[in-house]
């Protein structure tokens, strides 16, 4: 054991007790964490990464740590504490949590209490572990906020989480974790919910803090690009077991286990953009917008007036027949607003949006009246980001998929059931799935149900708003391939809204890059991704992690 080893985990197994016997979450997990090193844990959802992290803090209820040892080393005193055997709510383990091992989580909004200020939440940890008074704790909290580069920390400390942006919340989480200067920082998918530019900033921040404070970082992610950027050591997990451990370069360039190879191939697959079947784009235009502008009015806040947002600023795009048009940009760039304007949810203040109907007529999408007879909605359908929120949990799959057919009076009774069955099989689910409720399905399966609902009316256009961003790597690829097949088969045009450049490169024919409500660049996917012209696009593309540790560019100092 080297001098820098701070945590030693051997033979760790965690079980979820159940009525029909226990379910194993993780089994025989071994790994070491070293001071000044980042160890990345990779694997798909359900592989036991998060359970492993929580086991280190001994917070696994309702599961139990079945066997194994977790030794936390006090480097200065040369002593070891065994964590797994401690009472999960006892004083000894609580003295470790937050003080020597701190943790940050994936969803920075829901991981912070909505009813306490950022400052209250940071000082709480400091007061708990350090012998200081309130004023000193507050001073340290402000220092912690400054260390994570939050502007104007004296003001920011008294704000509530919902007044922060996503990236700022994650910084605040990190500040909270660093408040007591821990030896180990556990980061559970800390950048998954953020867009690429923010992700790059957070990765840089974690890397920098880790180096300056010589912390050990346990970093959990499913994104091989992030691993390549930040890891020193890699632990690959599959079905609750560690299948491969090694230095990052070795794992990426000489992987041993078949699963590691598969993960790498999936990551590179999106990145290399194989010359997939690209149909020659048709010249027929389905939707054309010209100079669409939409500003949301200003809102009064507690002490200040917040200026209105120019959500769309002279946006001109066109969607051609049979093509997949990607709209990329950070959150708040106006992508979703554009989709909502096209679906008649918002009316722009100026500009035009013309839709060329199947029957040859045209409709003005900026006019509410165009949507009144529902014909536009029959030809233009949506797929949503959140596969959980977008399906009514109280309707069966048959009702969900059949609803558009029913409300449009197209089919009913046995014909409807037959059609729903056919649609389910088309999206790769058994027809018998129609009797079940959405909760019986995984995220990827639910997204398939959402797609079946979208194609039920035989539409011409599908608007997919971040349709794959909530899905894991390999599931994401399957859904994208399904959409590609459907496009060819049903002659669909797809407006694909995304922030993931890898997905866009793989999936889209043409791309429009949006920034602060404006289209800053338009071009073919390859052009945009490989030879961006505009400064903003270049910045966006360069923020994408590359799944190769030798091409590390975000965190390189």
């Amino acid at each position: 054991m080297s001098n820098d080893t701070i945590l030693q985990v051997r033979g760790l197994s965690v079980d979820f007790p159940g009525r029909k016997g226990d379910t194993t979450a993780i089994a025989d997990v071994d790994f070491d964490l070293k001071l000044g090193e980042t160890t990345c844990f990779v694997g798909e959802s359900g592989s036991g990464k998060s359970v492993t992290a929580r086991a280190v803090l001994n917070i696994v209820e309702p599961a139990i740590i079945k066997k194994g040892a977790i030794h936390l080393v006090d480097v200065k005193a040369g002593q070891k504490i065994e964590l797994s055997g401690l009472d999960p709510d006892g004083a000894e383990i609580r003295a470790v949590r937050g003080a020597r091992i701190a943790m940050i989580f994936q969803e920075p909004m829901s991981s912070l209490s909505p009813v306490h200020t950022i400052g209250q939440q940071i000082t709480e940890a400091i007061l708990l572990h350090q012998d200081v008074d309130e004023a000193e704790a507050r001073r340290r909290a402000i220092e912690a906020l400054r260390a994570v580069q939050i502007a104007d920390p004296e003001q920011a400390i008294d704000k509530y989480p919902f007044e922060y942006s996503g990236g700022m919340r994650q910084r605040a989480m990190i500040a909270m974790a660093l408040g007591c200067e821990p030896d180990i920082l556990i980061a559970d998918e800390p950048t998954t919910a953020l867009d690429v530019t923010t992700q790059a900033e957070i990765l840089r921040l974690i890397r920098g803090l880790q180096e300056s404070r010589r912390m050990a970082v346990m970093f959990i992610t499913h994104d091989m690009g992030v691993v390549a950027e930040i890891a020193d050591q890699v632990v690959v997990m599959l079905h609750g077991r560690v299948v491969e451990t090694g230095a990052v370069d070795q794992v990426f360039h000489a992987p041993e286990h078949a699963y590691t190879k598969k993960l790498l191939k999936a990551a590179l697959g999106l990145d290399d953009a194989p010359a997939r079947r690209r149909e020659t784009p048709s010249d027929e235009v389905l939707i054309e917008t010209g100079d669409l502008s939409l500003a949301f009015p200003s809102k009064g806040k507690l002490f200040k007036r917040v200026a209105g947002v120019q959500a769309l600023d002279r946006v001109s795009v066109e969607l051609r027949k049979g093509e997949i048009l990607g709209i990329v940009g950070e959150s708040g760039s106006g992508k979703t607003t554009l989709a909502r304007v096209l679906m008649g949810r918002f009316q722009p203040q100026s500009g035009q949006a013309i839709y060329h109907m199947r029957d040859g007529g045209t409709r003005d999408l900026t006019d509410k009246a165009s949507f009144r007879d529902g014909q536009v909605y029959r030809e233009m359908r949506m797929i949503f980001q959140d596969p959980y929120g977008s399906l009514n949990p109280r309707m069966t799959v048959e009702q969900i998929i059949g609803e558009p057919l029913l409300v449009n009076g197209l089919l009913k009774g046995a014909d409807l059931r037959r059609r729903v069955g056919a649609l389910l099989e088309r999206v790769g689910l058994p027809a018998t799935a129609m009797e079940r409720y959405p909760h019986a399905f995984s995220g990827g399966q639910r997204q398939r149900i959402g797609i079946a609902r979208a194609i039920a009316l035989d539409p011409r256009i599908i608007i997919a708003d971040e349709a794959t961003s909530a899905l894991d790597g390999s599931i994401r690829a399957q859904i994208l391939d399904l959409l590609l097949d459907l496009r060819a088969e049903l002659d669909l045009s797809i407006l694909f809204i995304a922030h993931d450049i890898g997905v866009v490169r793989y999936f889209c024919d043409r791309v429009a890059v949006m920034h602060r409500g404006r289209v800053v660049e338009t071009g073919t996917a390859v052009q945009i991704c490989d030879a961006p012209q505009e400064a903003y696009t270049q910045r966006l593309i360069s923020a994408v992690p590359i799944p190769d540790p030798r091409k590390r560019h975000l965190t390189a100092s």
Partner: protein
């Protein structure tokens, strides 16, 4: 914040005006008018009616004027604090009110406090120890509490008290203290009676609140911020009180809005069974006997209590939840 309260108060005035129109229509609904009902009730009692009194009454309530004038006169009386005359009880409505409102408030508000005191700890215990023996016991008792009608519980309680302990628990005072002045003895007598209605009213409400709090808290306990707080090193008990319980209280606080009007409207049957001198049996009687001035005043008062209760609960919500606070101030 003050601006917000001012705006709410202004809208409350308009809501009350609208409600007064409804109440006035209700008062006008029975065939004939107030005076004809009055004569009818007097002659039913075998008394003769003085023609001059009738004319004076018709003049007083402007019964021979157009409807709008009648409404204006009625509203003007209300604003002066004259709520009309209850022909059924043969007394001014205001007098009936002032006699009973104190007791009503005392009984119902104590019941609400007891209800909260019972339900919050049980609800938290039930959620934190989901599917434990204690949770099952609380759940079963809760469902029993929901399923048993209040009056039945009151009857059982009366039976048990009388049969086993020889105590009568109806009414709120023993005969000798009924019309006495308030004194320590009278208060002790009051306390020895009032526990029964409070128990009956609060247990039923508590059963419901336990279910609400348990469900809310179960949702909140699985939120990531609870894990964050534990990862900080806080003890489990502290985490639960400081974080999820605070968020889970919101729906409970919202219920204050409809707790106030229950001072009049709830527990009709319980109040009748236990013979309580509160306002709710009066409302029932007024409605049954078409005593429209009394009923109208009570309904209007209930409306006022609802509005005040909603305002109080909104302000409390704003106080405990910053998201609501900022949303409210922002929603100009």
């Amino acid at each position: 914040m003050l601006g917000y309260i001012a705006r709410r108060l202004v809208t409350m005035v308009f809501t009350l005006l609208a409600l007064s129109v409804v109440v006035f229509v209700v008062i006008q609904l029975p065939p004939g008018d107030f005076v004809t009902s009055y004569i009818a009730s007097l002659s039913a009692a075998g008394e003769s009616v003085d023609q001059e009194t009738i004319i004076a009454l018709r003049e007083r309530y402007k019964l021979d004027s157009p409807v709008l004038v009648q409404y204006a006169a009625w509203l003007g009386d209300l604003l002066r604090g004259e709520f009309g005359y209850s022909f059924e009880m043969q007394r001014p409505v205001g007098e009936i009110f002032s006699q009973r409102i104190g007791i009503s408030l005392a009984v119902e508000l104590t019941a609400v406090v007891v209800m909260w005191a019972i339900s919050i700890p049980i609800g938290i215990y039930s959620a934190v120890n989901q599917y434990s023996i204690g949770d099952y016991v609380a759940t079963i008792l809760g469902f029993l509490g929901l399923a048993i009608p209040n009056f039945l519980f009151a009857l059982i309680l009366m039976y048990v008290c009388y049969n086993w302990f020889g105590v009568t628990i109806t009414g709120l005072f023993s005969a000798e203290y009924m019309n006495a002045r308030w004194s320590l003895d009278r208060f002790l007598d009051f306390a020895s009676h009032v526990w029964a209605p409070i128990l009956v009213i609060s247990t039923a409400g508590a059963a419901q609140l336990v279910r609400v709090l348990r469900a809310n808290l179960l949702d909140e306990l699985n939120k990531p911020y609870v894990l964050t707080a534990r990862a900080k090193g806080l003890a489990r008990r502290k985490v639960i009180w400081r974080y999820p319980v605070r968020v889970a209280m919101n729906p409970l606080v919202s219920t204050i809005g409809w707790v106030l009007p229950t001072v009049i409207s709830s527990s009709f049957v319980t109040a009748i069974v236990l013979n309580l001198p509160t306002l709710s049996p009066i409302l029932l009687r007024a409605l049954l006997s078409q005593d429209m001035y009394l009923a109208g005043a009570l309904i209007l008062f209930m409306g006022l209590l609802t509005l005040v209760g909603t305002l109080i609960s909104d302000l409390l919500l704003a106080w405990i939840d910053p998201r609501i606070r900022l949303g409210m101030v922002g929603a100009n």
